[in-house]
Amino acid sequence: MVGAGLAGQRAALAAIQAGRDVAVVSKLHPLRSHSGAAQGGINAALGKEDSVDTHIYDTVKGSDYLGDQDAIEFFCREAGPTVVEMEHFGTIFSRGPDGSLARRAFGGAGFPRTIYAADRTGLALLQGLWERLGTERFTLYEEWDLTDLVVREGRVQGIVAFDRKHGDFEEIATSSVVLATGPFGRVYGRTTNAHSCTGDGVAAAYDVGAFLKDMEFVQFHPTLLLESGILITEGARGEGGILKNALGERFMSRYAPHVLELASRDVVSRAIVTEVAEGRGFPGPYGGYVHLELMHLGREKVESRLQEIVDYSRNFAGIDPVTEPIPVYPGQHYMMGGIGTNIRGETNIPGLFAAGEAACVSIHGANRLGGNSLLETLVFGKEAGIAAAAHAKTAARTEMTSADLDAAVAPLRAWSSRKDGEDPSTLRTEMQQTMEKYVGIYRTEADLLEGVKRIRAVKARFDRVQVVDQSKVYNLNLTDALETGHMLELAEAIVVGAYARTESRGAHSRADYPKRDDAHWMKHTMAAKSPAGPILSYTPVTYTRWEPKERVY
């Protein structure tokens, strides 16, 4: 397992339970994984008035009909058992007065079906799962960076990784690899993602011929704390928080008259960008913004249900949300795209599996609903673990050689031996600024062409990247370079996919093609790596019961 957030841990547990010998490789201690930053909750239709079918329908609609309906049906059916299992593992959820799991309303959902643990649901699940996994036997390689996958004779032979603590490159021979390395939001500048969200596994898979699916679909969360980009959970609106512009208008009434602030995330993000662009935002040194108001909810409710939000506002913006509005603006939050897999987590390469945000099954399609990503990590982490274990049982012996290690390591050694060259931090910043400016919430052909050109220019400079730190111990400068190289490949796949898709669907909004175009574009983008850049092909969306309709909230 590469990556030890919720998806990687759940995959590990499943593979151990299937009797396999499991190694978990992670660049962070598992409890420091970015899964822990998820705030709002996890969806499961457990309420009496709710149903699995409604959850399926909401997810299909939320995906703007790009989600594969067979996968979504499976996903929503697994929701209840998955949440109950996590409760049995020890997760501490918030409870209702009768002792059952408490539920809150979330955007795009027909019923309050988001089960939560205050506003730190990811942390609660991460603790519960890690504590459960801790009772099993496996090997943890902590603070190891994935550098390469080794694929020969059309199947996985193992991985190469960099042990930060000792400064050594190591090979691990294995016939099954599950990539659960999370997102790559750091290709953008303004993002809720942790610094470590650099898509190492996604880039490694792409490098050995795995397809990247639907990469152009990037979710921009409506409410990031201004400047720091820290996430203010959708739960804040679920609890009754409202958005206002500088004129004091509750502007969501113009964009989603029925559900207002609880419209789907893409809808709310576009509304905020439009308000600011049309001059109704608040001006400030970090750009225009709008207000998220919680004051009317009362101190008791805000401080008990949105404890972390209160702390974030106070510590990172000097704002007390009990008495003042929170300044917010949208920013990158979630990658719908990733390594293309089926329901079992299988990629197009035998022995290579993926799960969680690194993967694209696809259940989120063009736009993910809040509360569905934590669920995805657990449902498909388990499936990928089961499939990887089954593959490992029957696969032929792997053949890793020292030549594999040398081949993987040689270019990295060249980075360190250069006398002068490009600084990885500078290249990273230029990539982030390019993505922010040309591949943002609203996209146009001209911008995207400029984006492709600029990303390719940065990529060309990366060929001369230099690692100046010569120490063997915790050489983060080398990690910087590795991550930047990974992200540049993924940024290119995003922008090329976005340029090709001449329609607006879900989170992909083309100002020059404002309508969804089902006749031409009801299909998944599949990107394959080539020296000249991504080669795109398309595969059909799977339908079961739901015909595409216009998406209104």
Binding site: L31, H88, I92, F93, G99, S228, P285, T426
Partner: protein, 324 residues
Amino acid sequence: MPEKTVSAQFEVYRFDPAHDSAPRYDRYTLDLAPHTPVLSALLRIRAEIDPSLTLRYSCRSAICGSCAMQVNSKSRLACETQIGPELERNGRIVVEPMRNQAVLRDLVVDQEPFWRHYDQIQPHLILDPRHPMPEGKENPMTPEEVDRFKETPRCIACAACFSACPAVEADPGFPGPMALAKLYRFVVDPRDTAHQDRLLAIQPGGLWTCLRCHLCTEACPKDVRPSERIRDLKEMAIAAQGATEPGSRHAVGFKENIRERGLLSEAKLVRQTSGISGMVGQLGQGVRIYRKKPEILKAPHKIEGLDEVQKIYDALDHTEDDAS
């Protein structure tokens, strides 16, 4: 409109065991807005001045627990410590690795002992196969039962408490505040079936090494209040099996002593804590104290208004009954 900036002086601990024979402090001066987090400043130093500066960091929003370090001698998360107040307090910002953990490089410390203590308290639900979990359903848990966890579910394992703890420094066998707060979390979990065994194991397992200095509670960025949970564990451990350790006997002896006379009988307390054989071991120290303070051997007189003291005890006993 650009925001007002201040000139901030940083002194950052640097040590690479592969190249350096001793640590040094590197100085950097940056112009920054006063609300800039220390982490942002360090990342700017990495990006613009010296990419070899080494630290752990990830989420930059106080939830991953990676960036605990000492800022002006306090164990803090660098991501949520703003430079303005630090400059006001200290005139400059001294950044050092956490204490009680060996430095691997610069601000990165070896957390193996911290995690080992965490593992040793058995941080997982211990279940009794005779009482299976409800099939296909969650265990019911009332909001009141959830409240009994207090703030322990907020712990992000950043180890700031472990760094601040003088008992960890004095006794590497002491589990430390985080592990004990985690233990508390399992002892109050209605799903766990090993509360009694956990309490029996921890009384001789380091619980009474805690000095009650509350530095862990001061250091904790998530308000977990480990020292208060350690106090709760002490009370629960005594309730579970009585006072079996010098530490718990000292606590109980102190309480009984005051109830009887309103004043502490120090000689009696030593006997209550250490037993007769323990008193023999402390004889030398006893003689030294006796020379300076001969009244030590006399039982103190009963104070005036002792009945008022006893009323306080009765009232407290009554509240404890209500609570349990």
